[in-house]
Amino acid sequence: MTAERIAAPAPTREQQVLDRIERARRRKAVVREERITLAHGAGGKATQTLVEGLFVEAFRNPRLAPLDDGAILPATGDRLVLTTDSYVVSPLFFPGGDIGDLAVNGTVNDLAVSGARPRYLSAGFILEEGFPVPDLARIVASMAAAARRAGVEVVTGDTKVVQRGKADGCYINTAGVGLLDRPHTYTATAVRPGDAVLVSGPIGEHGVTIMLARGELDIEADVASDTAPLHELVATLLDTAPGVRLMRDATRGGVATILNEVARAAGVAVVVDDAAVPVRPAVNGACEMLGIDPLYVACEGRFVAVVDGDEAEAALAALRGHPLGEGAALIGRIGADPPGLVLLKTAFGGTRIVDTLVGDPLPRIC
């Protein structure tokens, strides 16, 4: 023992207390509150606890861990895809999923249908003061599970808390970065007459599920959201059919809206065979009851693909070979005239226009 060591003063009682406190402060952050308060969004200790105790815990990955202002990502290849969506679904939890997996799958799907490999997500939460922390934990867990399933990492995020009455529990924005290895650019202007129109599965399940889950219509049906990550299914399709012109996930506005976007952008006619459009009976029943058209109802795990007509059958077979594409169907063809319009050959044998909808499909009595 050196003299110096002996000379080091024994810590005072105060210092012992302070050391104990510092140890306590270094312990793993645990969110103890039952509800979100404004403090969780103020950037101080509560925010820190929420981020470390909940988000980092669930999304754990080396790019997120430093919690710096931005996440640093290795970028291989020479083209990226960036996309974003905010999720404001109500209710937050519904048969088949919740806002959490929706927020991951939705953005993954926008990347996938752009032809990119989904890789990184950002997550921006807007929470309403009073939101139950267990609900948030559940949402975050399902985001994390969805991210694992889709092979993406949540690498950066943000949390804001707004006054009670200034949100609806929880809104989530995700932005996604995907790596575009394939040489093609999938865009509506590539579509040309003679192409075939495919849909990857039965439509309208997500939208009908949400409408019924709100409980206001007092309608019960055995339906569940179709929310799913489509990147594998898309990859399967692209590997089989090099003549894919365009893919779109059929979210808000449904299949009808996408087809109209295609018709307008490419200056072509889209001719759909109503009888070929896959719709599950319960979805159909609910739509009949409410007087709405399944073609306008949102999906969250289906996409529309326009492919070279010669590859239509091969493309369909490829889709059907994947569990998420079992219900895929060839629903129509691209024509030249009348440009900009979507026509439907009705099951009854007639023909009509399918236009873009003005607003949300509203339940109607007449």
Binding site: P193, A269, E288, G291, G349, R364, I365, C366
Partner: protein
């Protein structure tokens, strides 16, 4: 779906089309009015005209309850809805109907508490859940819908629910048909009768049409085969030289209607001496109002409403369309100034409105489509 899919069979339709074509006298033009907007919707939604020869023309009648609401009544409803103590409830169909100063959607965006319901009973539920607010149900519709409003008021009265009331805009179909029959500029060969109204009023009330005006009427169901068959029946009457009221929709419509439903209407409501119809002007005894016994459930009496008559926009030709005098595309503003996004007339709002149906479903010419669908 049972009682639905059977009546959407393309093969049977083809057979009917052949029979229809066979019944048409060469060179003669036939013009039938489908009274009901539901028929209009079916006709366009299923592309039914593709089965009709060029000589058979279907014209769209006044039977869309949303299309006939005058602008002033929309303004009145919005005035009620804008009160901070009021929750206004209505069917989705009403949300986009323009008044003199915007629609329910606009009023909602500007702060009014307006909620869509699937049933008037849902409005009652909202009233129970919000005892500190006044819940008004905007009742629209013909005799099909009036009984449900009446039943709801009876229920509210039984529960002693003091915060519920009805802004009654129910209308009656017969005076409207009569107004059209009396219109000088009309040439019609017969009517497709409103199937669902008839579940309540039955078929008897139409007898004067055949008897006094010499026009056959077939009470028609709402599936495409129902309509094709009804057209067939009309043509058959004409071919046979008959002029009768027939019931194609026997699976649903009893000849005498629904007495319980008529009773419910009669207990709660009585005829208004007159009511304005969009495009058709004032028609006597053509609408329902709340009886004095239910004055406390009558929003019109509870709230001060402006009650101002708002003239239809100058460019609006809804009246002509509702009378079947003009085809939708013949209206000067159709598809340019008047579109589903920016409707000038109500016929462009409801998916049963003739203009909206044609714009949304039928907006292309027959010959080009034949080309297009061949791909």
């Amino acid at each position: 779906m049972r009682f639905v899919d059977e009546y959407r069979d393309a093969e049977k339709a083809q057979a009917l089309a052949t029979q229809i074509a066979a019944l048409c006298e060469p060179g003669r033009q036939y013009k039938f009015m489908e009274v009901c907007g539901g028929h209009t919707h079916t006709i366009y939604k299923h592309g039914l005209e593709d089965y009709l020869p060029e000589s058979v023309q279907l014209v769209h009648g006044p039977g869309c309850p949303v299309c006939v609401i005058p602008m002033g009544r929309v303004d009145d409803a919005i005035a009620i809805a804008q009160r901070p103590d009021v929750i206004m409830t209505t069917f989705g169909d009403m949300m986009r109907v323009p008044g003199g100063n915007g629609s329910f959607f606009d009023a909602k965006a500007a702060g009014a508490d307006i909620r869509m319901v699937y049933s008037p009973l849902d409005a009652l539920k909202i009233a129970r859940q919000n005892p500190d607010r006044r819940v008004v149900f905007m009742g629209i519709g013909f005799e099909t819908t009036a009984p449900s409003t009446a039943m709801t008021v009876l229920r509210a009265a039984a529960e002693g629910l003091g915060n519920f009331s009805v802004f009654c805009n129910h209308v009656t179909i017969i005076p409207a048909i009569k107004a059209i029959l009396d219109s000088p500029d009309l040439r019609l060969d017969g009517f497709l009768g409103p199937g669902h109204v008839s579940t309540v009023i039955g078929c008897r009330p139409y007898e004067f049409i055949a008897r006094d005006y010499g026009k056959p009427l077939v009470c028609a169901g709402f599936e495409p085969l129902d309509i094709l068959q009804s057209v067939y029946l009309l043509l058959k009457q004409l071919a046979d030289g008959r002029c009768e009221v027939e019931n194609q929709y026997t699976r649903v419509v009893p000849w005498d209607g629904n007495l319980r439903a008529l009773d419910a209407i009669g207990r709660v409501m009585r005829l208004r001496p007159y009511f304005e119809w969009r495009g058709l002007g004032f028609i006597n005894d053509s609408a329902l109002q709340m009886r004095d016994e239910y004055a406390t459930f009558d929003a019109e009496r509870i709230f001060a409403i402006p009650g101002v008559r708002v003239a239809d926009p100058k460019s609006c030709q809804c009246g002509e369309v509702l009378k079947g005098v003009l085809k939708p595309w013949e209206c000067k503003v159709f598809g340019t100034a008047c579109t589903p996004e920016t409707p000038i007339g109500t016929c462009m709002v409801s998916s049963e409105g003739a203009c909206a149906a044609y714009y949304n479903f039928g907006r292309f010419s027959r010959s080009r489509v034949k080309e297009a669908t061949r791909v």
